[in-house]
Symmetry: D3
Subunit: 61 residues, 6 copies
């Protein structure tokens, strides 16, 4: 603990690695908890599985 | 906000689009929040990753 | 299964009952799965625990 | 209800079936709720989508 | 990782402690991952926030 | 979208506001998505509802 999960569209391997590192860094600093206690996951979803305002992103793009 | 997520088995593209639209519509109406504030995701899982009563769905079907 | 969860601000008891009923109804219809298989939860969060665009809702309102 | 979800790396079909059965059994016993009311899902993520201490597992292994 | 979360109604402190211990034990054994890598949370919801078949549990009980 | 959720122990109002802002900032930068599209929630749990290695945090502290 703490556990951070980030849901969104597809990302590159480099983006996921950088995202997990930077999000963990700032959260560790604000929450005053050492980084090694942090668990972080990235959940990538296809555009047709994500809706904003009732419309799927593949139709919005 | 609000955020709605629907977890279940595989769906067609048309079902996902209709599901996201209709779920957002009724939730917007009940919660008295405009549709554009709603985020909605559909998470599809293989049958062998879903268990009811301790048995995976691929064994139940 | 399926499992639907709705995260947002505080709601009245009547809103939660109506929300769970109506969301389950439309999802059952679209997914062609009988209502009794549906599990649905409502997760209410304080405004200061919800952020849009990096700003918490209690500051936006 | 209750709903149990297990997030982690890739598992075999046999592991998922055994995991869902055993986790449901012990939870049913402790929570004093019959097994048939339990819903359980397994969410498998690639190593590059999981971070511990800010480092993705594919880099740690 | 792995991360296990158990959502349901209110539990006693003893039940939560036993539930977390036993679920982690069986999952560790099946997934062949040492217990200390496991993170587990219990999320308690009021009956009026949980619906089965479109009806909230406070109405079903 | 994207949606970020941070689960952990109790935080002050200031920490939650700063956490949501900073996490959204770094994620927006890495994912190349404008901040206003980000939804972020903080979920606070009591120590007895969080387990590491099968032991609840209230017993570990």
């Amino acid at each position: 603990m703490p556990y951070i999960t980030i849901e969104g569209g597809a990302l590159t391997r480099e983006q996921k690695s950088e995202l997990i590192r930077k999000v963990t860094e700032v959260a560790s600093e604000v929450m005053q908890i050492p980084m090694e206690f942090f668990l972080c996951t990235v959940k990538e979803l296809p555009d047709e599985n994500i809706g904003i305002g009732g419309r799927t992103i593949d139709l919005i793009k």
